[in-house]
C-alpha cells in the first residue's frame, strides 16, 4: 500500500532541502517550500490577502509552507495556490464528495475544511496516490472497470474508495454502495465504481 499519508509521495525519495529566497512572512513572494515537493506547483502569493496566516503542513509527503488567506478553504488553497487541481469542486458545500482528500489518513471534504486548520497535518490528495506512473491498485481498478465517464468526480471517488477498502467496508456490494454514497457521480458510473472497489478489495485481500 502506498496510500497512507506517511508515505503518500508514493515511495519517491523526498530530498529534504530548504528553498531559500523568500522570508517566511513574505506576503507577495512565492509560497515558501520546505522540502522538495513532488506534486504541488505553488503560484506566487497574490496581493490583497487579508489577515494572512502562515500555514505549514505536509502535502503528499512533502512539507510545505505558505501564506494563506485566513478565510480560504483547503480546497481553494490546493487548487488556486498549490496547483493541485486534481481535487475537484463540485458544490463547495459538502454535498458531493468531489473534493475528498485524506487528512491524517482519514477522508475529509476539503471544501468544508478551513486551510488554516491544516497546520501540522498530513494531507494526501489524488496526486499523491500513485507512485509515479505506477497507479495505486484502486486507480487501476477504476480504469479496468470503467468506473468513470467525465472523470470529474473520479479523484474524490478514488480517495473514498481507498478508505472504503482500508476501513473494511468493501466486503459486499451493499456495503460498498453505502460507503460510497457520499460521492455523487452525475455520469452515473456507479455500477463500475462498485465493481472497481470490490476488485481492488479482493486483489489486496
Amino acid at each position: 500500500m502506498t496510500d497512507s499519508p506517511e508515505c503518500a509521495a508514493g515511495g519517491i525519495a523526498v530530498t529534504r532541502r530548504v528553498v531559500l529566497g523568500a522570508g517566511a512572512s513574505a506576503v507577495a513572494g512565492p509560497a515558501l517550500l520546505k522540502g522538495h515537493h513532488v506534486h504541488a506547483q505553488p503560484v506566487p502569493t497574490p496581493s490583497g490577502i487579508e489577515n494572512p496566516l502562515l500555514l505549514s503542513f505536509t502535502v503528499n509527503g512533502s512539507s510545505l509552507e505558505l501564506d494563506i488567506d485566513a478565510r480560504a478553504s483547503l480546497l481553494d488553497v490546493l487548487r488556486e495556490r498549490l496547483g493541485l487541481t486534481g481535487t475537484k469542486k463540485g458544490c463547495d458545500h459538502g454535498q458531493c464528495g468531489a473534493c475528498t482528500v485524506h487528512i491524517d489518513g482519514r477522508t475529509r471534504l476539503s471544501c468544508l475544511t478551513l486551510a488554516a486548520k491544516m497546520n501540522g497535518r498530513q494531507l494526501t490528495t489524488i496526486e499523491g496516490l500513485s507512485d509515479g506512473d505506477t497507479l495505486h491498485p484502486m486507480q487501476t481498478a477504476f480504469v479496468d472497470h470503467d468506473a468513470l465517464q467525465c472523470g470529474y468526480c473520479t479523484p474524490g471517488q478514488i480517495m473514498s474508495a481507498v478508505a472504503c477498502v482500508r476501513q473494511g467496508y468493501a466486503s459486499s456490494p451493499e456495503s460498498i454502495r453505502d460507503f460510497m454514497s457520499g460521492n455523487i457521480c452525475r455520469c452515473g458510473a456507479y455500477v463500475g465504481i462498485v465493481a472497481a472497489v470490490a476488485a481492488a478489495n479482493s486483489s489486496e485481500g
Partner: protein, 720 residues
C-alpha cells in the same frame, strides 16, 4: 471497414482521469490570474434601480466591479437570427440573473466583494409555478396525420390519461466556469462547453470583435448533458472583465447560482388518448403536450412528438402542443430532452392500453413492429426494437410474468413488479473536417470536431484510428473541442460518434493510401512511423472532410463559420428515417410498510447501430439508466412562488441518484450497422440510453402495487 466487433479497449483518457491529471477548464493555471464572482439578482422580476459598489471596492483585493454600464448592449444579430443573450442589464427577468461581476486578486476577496455589493430594485409581479401562469397557452403546430378523431371513435378499447413530468436540472459535477485570457490582441476562452464554435461566435458578437480573434478551448468537460450546449450569460462578461483589466479572469459559478442561470428541463403536462381496434392494434393516438417556457424562450413545444409519432406505426395521429410562459431563465435541452418526458408519458399510456386489452406489454409492443415512419411515410432504415424487446425479455426472465398487478412477492415479503419501456431517438450527424498527421518520430496527431464530456468520443475515435492504422497507440493525440485545431460543431443530440467516427475512418483510409503511394510498391518494414523514418519522411499529413446524407458543400461552409449543420433531425433524411432504439426492463420492489421503492435490477438492450467503443457505450447506457431512475424517483426542481427562481437550488436538496440507489444494470447491444445513416453504421447512444426507462419503472410500480402513478418523480408519499 471490417464488420468484426470492436475490441473492449479501456477508455483512452481514463489513465489521466484516475490520477487527477486531466485538466478541466478551471484547472488551467495562468500567471497573474484574477478571480471573479457574480452578484445574483435577489428578486423574481423587475428593474435594477441602483448598484452601490463602494463597500465592495473597499474589500482588500477587489480590483473592479463590473455593472451593466461596463458591458455593451448586444448588437443586432444578422437578419432573422435572434440576438445573443445580453451581458449585464438592468432588466431582471428571473431570480439569480447576474447583476454585477466582482473581480479580485483572490477568490476569497471576490466572494466577500460580491456579498458587499448593494443592489436596489423596482419589483414587478412574476409567476414561476406552472399552475400560476398569468397568460394563456401559446399553441404550436404539431405533427398530425391520418384521422385520429375518426379512428378513436371506431376504437373498441380506449385509454385516456394525463401525465406530468416536472422540471429538472442537469447538474453535471463540474461547475460552470469561464477563464478569459487576452494576449497579443486575441481572446482565448477556457470553458467546458459542448459548443465551442457557438461560444466563439457569440462572445465575438457580444464584444463586437471579429470571430477570428476568439479561440475557445474545451478539451475535457466534467459532464455536459445539454447544460453546456448554449452560451451562458456570464461568459462574455468574464471576457469583458479580462479586456478591461488586461489580466486573465476566472469565474467558477457557485452551484446555487447555476440553478438559476443554466437551462433546465421544463415542467410538461402530457394528455394522451389511445385507441385500439378489435384485433388489439393501436389505430389512434392523440397527444397534447403543454410545457413551461420563459417569456421569450424559444425551446420548442412540438418536438415531444418526435418519438411517439414514429415508434409504433400508428396511422392516425393528432399532435398538439403549447407553452405557458413563466419568469425563469429559459428551458432548453437536457439529456433526451423531449424523448425522456414524452416516452414516460407515451410508454405509460401504451402499458395502460395493453393492460386494458389483457395483453402482455412486451408482446403488445412486439405486435406493433413497423418498417415505415408513419409521420412521413419514409422507410425506417433499421428498426431493431423488436430484437431489443425479445432479447431483453429473455435476459430479464420475463416469461411467466403474471399479468395481474400485486401478485409478485420478493422473498422478504416485499411487493415486486416488472415493467418494460421502449424508446427511440434520432440518428443525426453533422459535417466534419479532420486532419491526421503520422510522424516518423512515433507521434500521431488527429484533429477534428467534437467535445469530450465523458461519453467517450476520444475513445471511439481512437478505436477506428488504431484499427485502421499501424501506429503507436500510446503516442496518439486526439484534439477535439478546440477551435484552434479544427472547425468545431456543437456536440449534442447523440450525433457525436456518428459525426466523428466516419470522418476518422476516412482519414485512416486516406492516410493508408498516401503511405502506399509513397511506398510505391517498395517493401519497407515496420509500422507507419518506422516506414516513414526509413523513407526519410518526417511525416505525412492529410485532410478529409465529410458531410451527412443529403448534405452538400454549403453544410461544410456552415461548419467552417461555426454554425449548426445537422442532418437527421428527428431521424429525418431526404430518403429515409434513421433512429436508435432501446428496450428497458426494470424490477421494482416496494417495501409494504414504508412504500420505499428500490430498483434491484435493470436490463437494457440498445440498437444504436454499430458499437464502436463497447466499454464507453456500455457506461453511457448505464449512466442513462441512472439518470432515468433519478428522474423517475427523485429529481424535481421546485420553483419558489414567494421570491422567484428555484427553491432547492443545490445538490443536497435536488436529489440525483447516489450509489446506494443503484442496483444491477445489465446492458447489451444489437450491434447491427446502419449504413444508410453513415459509412460507419453508427446511430448514437447517449440519449436513447435514458429514453423509456422512467416509464419502465412506473410500469413496474403499477405491476407491483396496482397503482398507476402518472407524475414524476414517484415518491413514497404517492404510494401511501
Amino acid at each position: 471497414m471490417s464488420r468484426q466487433p470492436f475490441p473492449d479497449l479501456a477508455r483512452i483518457d481514463a489513465f489521466d482521469k484516475v490520477q487527477g491529471k486531466t485538466k478541466y477548464s478551471s484547472d488551467v493555471p495562468f500567471p497573474d490570474l484574477l478571480h471573479a464572482m457574480t452578484v445574483p439578482a435577489t428578486i423574481g422580476k423587475g428593474m435594477v434601480t441602483s448598484i452601490d459598489v463602494e463597500h465592495a471596492l473597499a474589500v482588500p483585493g477587489v480590483v473592479r466591479v463590473l455593472t451593466p454600464h461596463d458591458t455593451p448592449p448586444p448588437p443586432p444579430g444578422p437578419q432573422g437570427s435572434p440576438p445573443p443573450p445580453p451581458m449585464l442589464v438592468h432588466a431582471i427577468a428571473y431570480r439569480g440573473q447576474p447583476v454585477a461581476l466582482v473581480v479580485a486578486e483572490t477568490l476569497e476577496a471576490a466572494i466577500e466583494g460580491a456579498e458587499a455589493v448593494r443592489v436596489s430594485y423596482a419589483l414587478e409581479p412574476f409567476a414561476v409555478r406552472f399552475e400560476d401562469a398569468d397568460a394563456g397557452r401559446e399553441d404550436t403546430e404539431s405533427p398530425t396525420f391520418g384521422d385520429a378523431d375518426a379512428a378513436f371513435a371506431t376504437a373498441t378499447t380506449r385509454i385516456e390519461a394525463i401525465y406530468t413530468t416536472t422540471a429538472n436540472h442537469h447538474n453535471p459535477m463540474e461547475l460552470l466556469s469561464t477563464t478569459a485570457v487576452w494576449a497579443g490582441g486575441r481572446l482565448t476562452i477556457y470553458e467546458g462547453t459542448q459548443g465551442s464554435n457557438g461560444l466563439k461566435n457569440t462572445v465575438a458578437q457580444l464584444l463586437q470583435i471579429d470571430r477570428s480573434m476568439v479561440d475557445v478551448i474545451s478539451p475535457q468537460i466534467g459532464g455536459g448533458f445539454g447544460q453546456r450546449g448554449e452560451v451562458p450569460r456570464h461568459t462574455a462578461v468574464v471576457a469583458q472583465a479580462a479586456r478591461l483589466l488586461r489580466r486573465p479572469v476566472k469565474l467558477v459559478m457557485p452551484r446555487n447560482q447555476i440553478f438559476h442561470n443554466s437551462r433546465f428541463r421544463p415542467h410538461v403536462q402530457h394528455a394522451i388518448k389511445l385507441g385500439a381496434d378489435a384485433n388489439g392494434k393501436m389505430i389512434s393516438a392523440h397527444y397534447d403536450c403543454l410545457q413551461q417556457n420563459s417569456r421569450r424562450g424559444r425551446y420548442r413545444s412540438d418536438w415531444y412528438h418526435a418519438g411517439p409519432c414514429k415508434v409504433y406505426g400508428i396511422e392516425n395521429y393528432r399532435g398538439t402542443s403549447g407553452d405557458l410562459r413563466l419568469d425563469t431563465h429559459g428551458p432548453a435541452q437536457m439529456r433526451a430532452p423531449y424523448e425522456h418526458p414524452s416516452a414516460f408519458a407515451f410508454e405509460s399510456a401504451v402499458d395502460e392500453l395493453a393492460f386494458a386489452l389483457g395483453r402482455d406489454p412486451v408482446e403488445f409492443r412486439l405486435a406493433h413492429d413497423t418498417k415505415i415512419d408513419a409521420s412521413t411515410g419514409k422507410r425506417l432504415t433499421s428498426r431493431h426494437l423488436n430484437e431489443c424487446l425479445t432479447r431483453g425479455a429473455e435476459q430479464f426472465g420475463w416469461t411467466g410474468r403474471p399479468v395481474q398487478p400485486g401478485t409478485l412477492k420478493a422473498a422478504d415479503g416485499t411487493m415486486a413488479g416488472w415493467g418494460v419501456g421502449a424508446g427511440v431517438y434520432q440518428a443525426a450527424m453533422h459535417p466534419a473536417i479532420a486532419t491526421l498527421r503520422v510522424s516518423a518520430n512515433g507521434v500521431t496527431r488527429y484533429a477534428s470536431a467534437g467535445h469530450e464530456m465523458g461519453q467517450g468520443m476520444r475513445t471511439a475515435i481512437a478505436q477506428v484510428l488504431i484499427a485502421g492504422l499501424r501506429i503507436d497507440p500510446a503516442r496518439l493525440t486526439i484534439l477535439i473541442g478546440d477551435t484552434t485545431v479544427a472547425p468545431q460543431h456543437s456536440t449534442a443530440g447523440s450525433w457525436g460518434t456518428a459525426s466523428s467516427v466516419p470522418v476518422a475512418v476516412a482519414a485512416a483510409e486516406k492516410m493508408t493510401a498516401a503511405l502506399a503511394e509513397l511506398l510505391d510498391g517498395r517493401k519497407v518494414a515496420g509500422n507507419m512511423h518506422e516506414q516513414l523514418a526509413r523513407l526519410r519522411r518526417p511525416f505525412i499529413e492529410i485532410e478529409v472532410s465529410m458531410v451527412a446524407p443529403g448534405q452538400g458543400p454549403e453544410h461544410l461552409e456552415r461548419l467552417k463559420t461555426g454554425g449548426m449543420a445537422i442532418a437527421g433531425l428527428h431521424g429525418t433524411y431526404p430518403d429515409f428515417t434513421a433512429l436508435s432504439y432501446i428496450a428497458h426492463f426494470v424490477e421494482v420492489h416496494v417495501e409494504p410498510h414504508t412504500r420505499r421503492i428500490r430498483v434491484p435490477r435493470v436490463v437494457s438492450v440498445a440498437d444504436c447501430g454499430r458499437v464502436i467503443s463497447p466499454r464507453t457505450a456500455r457506461s453511457q447506457v448505464q449512466g442513462g439508466v441512472v439518470w432515468a431512475l433519478g428522474a423517475a424517483l427523485r429529481e424535481i426542481s421546485e420553483t419558489d412562488p414567494r421570491y422567484g427562481g428555484w427553491l432547492n437550488a443545490d445538490i443536497a436538496e435536488y436529489h440525483v441518484s447516489v450509489n446506494a440507489d443503484i442496483g444491477k444494470i445489465d446492458v447489451s447491444f444489437i450491434d447491427e450497422p446502419d449504413f444508410d445513416a453513415n459509412s460507419a453504421g453508427v446511430k448514437g447512444i447517449g440519449e436513447i440510453a435514458m429514453v423509456g426507462a422512467a416509464a419502465a419503472l412506473a410500469n413496474g410500480v403499477f405491476h407491483a402495487t396496482g397503482r398507476r402513478l402518472r407524475t414524476l418523480p414517484i415518491r413514497v408519499e404517492h404510494l401511501i
